[in-house]
Amino acid sequence: MTGITWGFKSLARQPLRTALSLAGIAVAAAMLLDMVMLSGGIDKSFSDLLLRRGFQMRLTPKGTLPFDTEATMAGASGIVAALRRDPAVAAAGAVLGTSLYGRTGDSLVTLFGYGIEPEAQSLYQLTAGLDLTPADTGGVLLSEPAARLLGASVGDTVTLVGRLDPQVVTAAVGRSLVVRGMVRWIYDYRGQPSVGTVLPVMQRLARQATDRASLILVKAGDDAAVPALADRVRRQFPQVEVNSVADLVAHFRERLVYFRQLSYILGSMSLVVTVLLIATLLTITVNERLGEIATLRAIGVSRATVVGQVFAEGTALTVVGAALGILLGLVTARRLDAILTSFPGLPAAFSFFVPRADTLTFAALVLLGTGALAGLYPAWLASRAPIAATLRAEAT
C-alpha cells in the first residue's frame, strides 16, 4: 500500500464524478485525436493517393493542376516519347479527361471519360473482367456507377457519345464499345460514373486533336531521382507544368490550409478543456481531502508521496480518458470522413482523418503531458497544505 495506490483508490470514492470527468476527458481526447489526424491526414492521404500506382510526377497544361480545368497539352505523344527515352524514367503515359455521354435507349446519360495508355496507367484498379491492351480500340472499362447508369456489365456493348457542342453543326461522334472490365477509378469522387478507353478512342470522342492530353504521368525508377528529373523535364518542356507529388501536396496543402488551421484551433481548445477538467477535478478532490493529506503529512508521509498521489490520480484519469477518447475519436473520425469525402469534387479514396501509429502516439503523449500539467497546481496545493492549521480546522 502506497500513497499512489491510495490515489487510485480515491478515484473510486466518487464514482459518478469520476465517470463524468472521464467522459469529459474522453470527448476532449477524441477531439484532439481527430484534429491531429486531420492536420496530418490530408497530406498523408493525398500523397498516398497520388503514389498509389508509383507515379511520382504529373505534367499538365501550363498554369494548371491535374484535371483542374479542361485545358489540354499539345504534342503529348512527343513529350511521352521523349520521357520514355530518359534513363531515369521507368514509365510514362498520357491521359485525356473529358465529359461525354452514354446512350441508354433513347436517352443520354452524362459520363466522365478517361483516355489512357494501358501500358502506363495510374488511374484505376481492375475489379472484374479484363484490362485494356494498348491496341484495344473496341473496348471500354466502366466504374460501378457508370455500369449502373448504362445497365451494362462485362461483355456487354455500350454506346458512348462525344460531348455535344451547340456551336458545332456536325453531329456528335458516337462509338459502340465492348465492356472489357470493371474498374475503380482512384481519383473519382463518390458515385462518379466514369469510363475509360485507350487514348486515341477518347481523343476522337472528345473531338480533340490526336496529340492532345490533359495529363502525362511519369514514374521514375528511383524516388531519390525525382527532384532532379522534375528539374530536367521543366527545362526540356517549358510549355507544360511539371509537378512532383511533393509539389502537388504543397499545392493541395495551400488550398486546404483552413482545415489545418481549424484542426490547430480545435485541437488546442480540446487540450485546454482537458487541462481544465483534470485540474478542476483534482483541485476539488484535494480540497476535500486536505484533512487526510495533513494527517498523512503528520504521520510522516513525504511531500513527494503526496504529490505522487495527486499525479497518480491525474495520470489515471488521463490514461483511462485518453484510451476511451482514442476509441471515440476513431469512430467519430470515420463518420466525419464519410461526411467530408462526400463533398463534390473530392476523390472518394481520399481521407481527411488518417489514423497512424505516430499520430496516435503523439496524441497520447500530448494528453499525458496535459494530465501532468493539469496536476501541477493541485499537487502543489496538496504538498503545501499546512499540517497543524488543517488538523486544527478538522478538529473544530
Binding site: M1, W6, K9, E292, I299, G300, S302, A388, E394
Partner: protein, 224 residues
C-alpha cells in the same frame, strides 16, 4: 546517559488571529523519559493541543526547542523532520483520520510502506498490530465499515507501525462513548506496560487518572 525520547525547553507559540497576536504557549518545558505515560490535561484553549503539535514536529514554535531522542527539531530540514515523524513518533488523533478508501490493514501498512518496509514484512506486522489492538478479525474491512472505537484502535495500530519512540495522542477518547473510551484506556495501559512511551492530551479525567504523570495546563503554561 542517553537522551530522553522527548525534551521541550521554553516553548512559545504565538499566532495572529483577527489582527491580534494570540499567545498559545508561553514558555513550556517538558521532559518525557523512556516508558513514561504522561497526560497533558487542561480546559479547551489552554494550549495542550498546540503543545502536542510542537512536540510532534508538525508545527514550529515561535521560540524554544524540542528534542526527540537528542535531535533538535529546529535543525532538521522539512524532509528530515518528516522522516523523523515517520520513524520516531506515532500520532493518534481525536477523529482517527484513517483513509476511508483503505482497509484496516492497508491503513496500518501505510506508514511502513512509506518507510520502505518490504511487503511481506509489513503484511505480517500489520496483522500482528491489529491482533494486538483486538481487531485481528477486521483486517479486510474498510475504515468506513468500522465503529468509532474500532477506527481508533486501527489508528493506534497505525501509530505503532514503525515502532516509534513516543506515541502522541490528541484527545483519543474525545469522539468515543464512555464504554468504548474505557477500552482505549485499557489499551493505552497495556501499551505502556509493554514499554511504549505515551504522551496523551486529554480533558478526560479518567484518561488523565490512568497516566503515570499528569501535566496541567492553563493559559499556555504548565501549572504543575
Amino acid at each position: 546517559m542517553t537522551a530522553p525520547p522527548l525534551l521541550a525547553l521554553e516553548l512559545r507559540k504565538d499566532y495572529p488571529m483577527n489582527g491580534e497576536t494570540v499567545h498559545a504557549l508561553r514558555g513550556v518545558s517538558l521532559r518525557v523519559d523512556r516508558g513514561d505515560y504522561v497526560a497533558i490535561a487542561g480546559p479547551s484553549g489552554s494550549g495542550k493541543s498546540t503543545l502536542l503539535q510542537l512536540l510532534g514536529g508538525i508545527d514550529t514554535p515561535s521560540a524554544g526547542t524540542v528534542e526527540i531522542l537528542g535531535t533538535r527539531l529546529d535543525t532538521l530540514s522539512d524532509g528530515e523532520l518528516t522522516r523523523l515523524r515517520l520513524t520516531r513518533l506515532g500520532f493518534i488523533f481525536q477523529r482517527f483520520h484513517l483513509l476511508p478508501v483503505l482497509t484496516a490493514r492497508e491503513n496500518v501498512e501505510l506508514p511502513m510502506a512509506e518507510a520502505g518496509v518490504r511487503r511481506g514484512e509489513r503484511h505480517a506486522r500489520a496483522r500482528e498490530l491489529l491482533d494486538y489492538v483486538g481487531l485481528g478479525h477486521r483486517t479486510g474491512h474498510r475504515a468506513t465499515q468500522l465503529s468509532g472505537g474500532e477506527m481508533q484502535r486501527v489508528a493506534i495500530a497505525r501509530a505503532l507501525a514503525n515502532r516509534p519512540a513516543v506515541l502522541l495522542a490528541d484527545e483519543p477518547t474525545g469522539e468515543l462513548d464512555a464504554a468504548t473510551g474505557q477500552g482505549i484506556l485499557a489499551l493505552f495501559q497495556r501499551l505502556n506496560a509493554d514499554g511504549t512511551t505515551l504522551v496523551v492530551v486529554t480533558h478526560d479525567d479518567r484518561l488523565a487518572a490512568e497516566a503515570g504523570r499528569v501535566v496541567h495546563m492553563l493559559d499556555g503554561v504548565i501549572r504543575d
